[in-house]
């Protein structure tokens, strides 16, 4: 998850961080080189110093050590100490060939005739001396030879705290300089990348961050000099225009779908209007023929009244379906009656058996808008009816409770084709040649926050639309 988090950071930050990481790496490598070089130089200087010191002492002390002349050894060490610059030499001890101290610059620490061994502990030879192990004092031991014969040895304690401090100071200075350089370069990297990515940021902001649809980039924001970016922006604007055109076309198509539904019902509805007309005309003839028979007139008038009311209901349902402004009205039992009035003749015409649900208790339907729910139900029912065979079954069930409602439409047809399923169940582009009824169902369901489920079993296709309860429209 952490990795995803980093991947989601703005590219400007990521580039700045990457620059900083590379700078830190570079700084570490460079610092290591500098410190290594400094250490080498220091050690070379230290060894040269130690070598001169020991060689000088060997020349001066050799004869005295050979004759075990304590005073002259002491005198020579004392003079060497007085003449040496700086305070690098802390202690020099000279021993004879038996390892007994002849003299030292500090006789209190290294008394005459004591063992030189404790001073020689941890001492290294001149060629191995280094200030690199951080100790403030290093010890060197060297043999004293006269004419090729070893007559004693010198042990010297050197104060290298200044060299150690120099290394520490250099380390701190390098770290500080690298930190500052890293910060400055990372900051510069951030600004440079931010400037370079400005067109991309602009593009991203118009890509659909607000409202989901790509917005064209204003002509004023398109750079004149950068032809690549300019071309990219213009292409983007053309693309945004094309998407808008297509979206408009889809919206118009959806508008038309309502008329398409009616169109598909037209012949059934024409029958529905035409069938009672014969009866009504007969009733009119009967009235004219038996005008003097009040009971016949009365009976015919009631027949006329019923027929005309049916016609009125059918035309009202058609008008209702065609009304452009239905968006604000809540769903009601009347909508279910209208649906049945419009759809039932279609099944009758094909000799299909329609199972219609009982009207739910009041108060449960009013939570949903009328127009989209009617459109969803009608489209699914028309689809089921056209799929079901002559004399087949079309089932419509409605389950309503406090949580939401479920529209269940089932038929015993051959099932939905892959193309139809794609229209109903996914947002994949609509393949050309097909209708948009099922895609409209999907879009409307999505708009209401619901889900569509498809189930095919035992030769029956069942489509369930679950709509969550919404506030009163």
């Amino acid at each position: 998850m952490r990795h995803r988090g980093v991947a989601n950071w703005p590219i400007t930050i990521r580039v700045a961080l990457a620059t900083a990481a590379l700078m830190i790496l570079l700084g570490l490598v460079a610092s290591q080189q500098v410190l290594s070089r400094l250490g080498k130089l220091q050690d070379e200087r230290l060894r040269e110093f130690a070598r001169l010191h020991v060689e000088g002492l060997a020349v001066a002390l050799g004869p005295f050590v050979l004759h075990k002349d304590v005073w002259e050894v002491y005198e020579t060490l004392d003079r060497a100490r007085a003449n040496s610059t700086g305070q690098r030499i802390l202690l020099t001890v000279v021993g004879d060939e038996r390892g007994q101290v002849l003299a030292a610059t500090d006789p209190i620490r290294a008394p005459v005739d004591s063992s030189i061994r404790r001073f020689a502990e941890g001492a290294v030879s001149v060629s191995e001396v280094t200030a690199g192990n951080g100790a403030p004092v290093v010890k060197i031991a060297a043999p004293l030879s006269v004419q090729g014969r070893e007559v004693g040895r010198v042990v010297t304690e050197l104060d290298v705290s200044d060299l150690v401090a120099q290394r520490r100071t250099t380390t701190v200075a390098l770290l500080a300089a690298n930190a500052v350089a890293t910060f400055v370069i990372a900051l510069a990297g951030y600004f440079v990348v931010a400037r370079m990515l400005k067109p991309i940021t602009l593009l991203a902001s118009h890509m659909g961050e607000a409202g989901g649809a790509p917005q064209p980039i204003p002509e004023a924001s398109i750079p004149k000099s950068d032809t690549v970016v300019g071309r990219l922006f213009r292409n983007f604007n053309e693309m945004a225009g094309a998407i808008k055109s297509r979206s408009d076309a889809e919206r118009r198509l959806a508008e038309r779908e309502r008329f398409v539904s009616l169109g598909r019902l037209s012949s059934s509805l024409a029958h529905e209007i035409n069938n009672p007309l014969g009866g009504l005309l007969n009733a009119a003839d009967t009235i004219r023929t038996y005008a003097e028979r009040p009971e016949v007139v009365q009976q015919s008038a009631e027949l006329l009244d019923r027929g005309l009311k049916h016609l009125r209901d059918v035309s009202r349902a058609i008008l209702e379906e065609n009304r452009l402004d239905r968006s604000g009205r809540p769903l009601s039992a009347t909508d279910l009656d209208d649906l049945r009035l419009l759809f039932e003749p279609e099944t009758s015409r094909q000799g299909q058996v329609l199972e219609w649900p009982p009207t739910p208790s009041s108060g449960l339907l009013e939570r949903y808008p009328s127009a989209p729910v009617r459109q969803i139900a009608l489209n699914l029912l028309l689809n089921a009816s056209s799929a079901a065979p002559e004399g087949g079954n079309v089932v419509f069930r409605l389950r309503a409770d406090q949580e939401g409602i479920a529209l269940i439409v089932a038929d015993d047809g051959p099932g939905l084709s892959d193309a139809d399923l794609a229209r109903l169940m996914s947002a994949a582009p609509v393949a050309p040649g097909g209708g948009v009824g099922l895609r409209l169902v999907r879009d409307l369901v999505c708009g209401l926050g619901g889900v569509v489920q498809h189930h095919r079993a035992d030769g029956r296709t069942t489509i369930t639309v679950d709509l969550p309860a919404l506030g009163v429209m």
Binding site: V70, W71, D78, D106, P107, P111
Partner: protein
């Protein structure tokens, strides 16, 4: 006189030796040793010019490291006279004669000091058994003979009594050895220690006098007996004994913290002769 004038180093030897190459035949040569007079060019030059003025003859000062060397140069005639110690004078009593003895604090006498470091609790020689000791010169009375004879009185020799005895060939070096902790104790000329206490008090402050010897004859100026009567040596003896009468002479004596140089009989060194006898040496 300040410390720089009184003290010095071996560098003075080179300076003193150089004129020998161009020495005139009449130049009077006086031998010195830094064992006693560890001084620098200013003191040496003042003494030389005072003596030259008084003698009306150029005087050349010849310096050697040890009493043995300077005694040898005196005996073989390389120098006409020398400022030596009473001990070597007595060792070669048969061949040497006295020209004069310096007076210090009004007497031609001095003492030998046994010194230890300022913090050392040793009350005397007996407490120093088994430690490291510094002598100034095996031919020095105050810097060797006194201690050696003290040890002889208790049946000891320096080699047995001390774990190690070193020779520093300079009384000032003995003080340095003890002050620096190189040795626990040292045998030193009392005149030199007292003079150092004036000009270099921070050095002597790190030492303490554990014991003092009896008063003994001050290191004398001597010449070979067979040349004592030559005009040059006689003139040198007179010049020496009248140094305090000239300004340059008084300045030279002042630099050396000495009053004057007086005539003295060999009996002045009887004390040293007794100590020599105690260690089995005779005149």
């Amino acid at each position: 006189m300040d410390r720089r004038r009184f003290l010095g180093g071996f560098g003075a030897s080179g300076f003193l030796c150089a004129p020998a190459l161009t020495r005139a035949a009449t130049t009077f040569r006086l031998g010195l040793t830094p064992v006693f007079l560890d001084n620098d060019a200013v003191v040496i030059d003042q003494l030389r010019s005072a003596l030259s003025d008084a003698m009306e003859t150029p005087v050349e000062l010849i310096q050697r490291k040890t009493y043995q060397e300077i005694t040898a140069t005196l005996l073989d005639g390389s120098v006409d006279a020398a400022w030596i110690c009473g001990f070597p004078f007595l060792q070669h009593r048969d061949r040497l004669s006295l020209l004069g003895v310096p007076e210090w604090h009004g007497r031609p006498l001095y003492q030998s000091y046994l010194i230890v470091s300022a913090e050392d609790a040793a009350a005397g020689l007996a407490d120093l058994r088994g430690s490291v000791h510094a002598f100034s010169d095996p031919d020095s009375n105050s810097g060797f003979l006194v201690t050696a004879s003290d040890l002889a009185r208790i049946g000891e020799t320096p080699e047995r009594f001390f774990s190690r005895a070193i020779y520093t060939y300079g009384h000032r070096n003995v003080v340095r050895a003890v002050a620096g902790g190189l040795t626990r104790s040292g045998s030193v000329d009392g005149y030199v220690w007292e003079t150092l206490a004036i000009v270099e008090p921070e050095l002597t402050a790190r030492t303490r006098i554990a014991s003092r010897s009896e008063w003994l004859g001050f290191p004398p100026f001597a010449s070979r007996s067979d040349r004592i009567a030559t005009p040059e040596v006689e003139r040198f003896g007179r010049a020496l004994r009248s140094l305090e009468q000239t300004l340059a002479g008084r300045e030279a004596l002042g630099l050396l913290f000495l009053d004057r140089i007086v005539e003295a009989a060999p009996s002045l060194f009887d004390g040293i002769a007794r100590r020599m006898a105690e260690v089995g040496l005779s005149e």
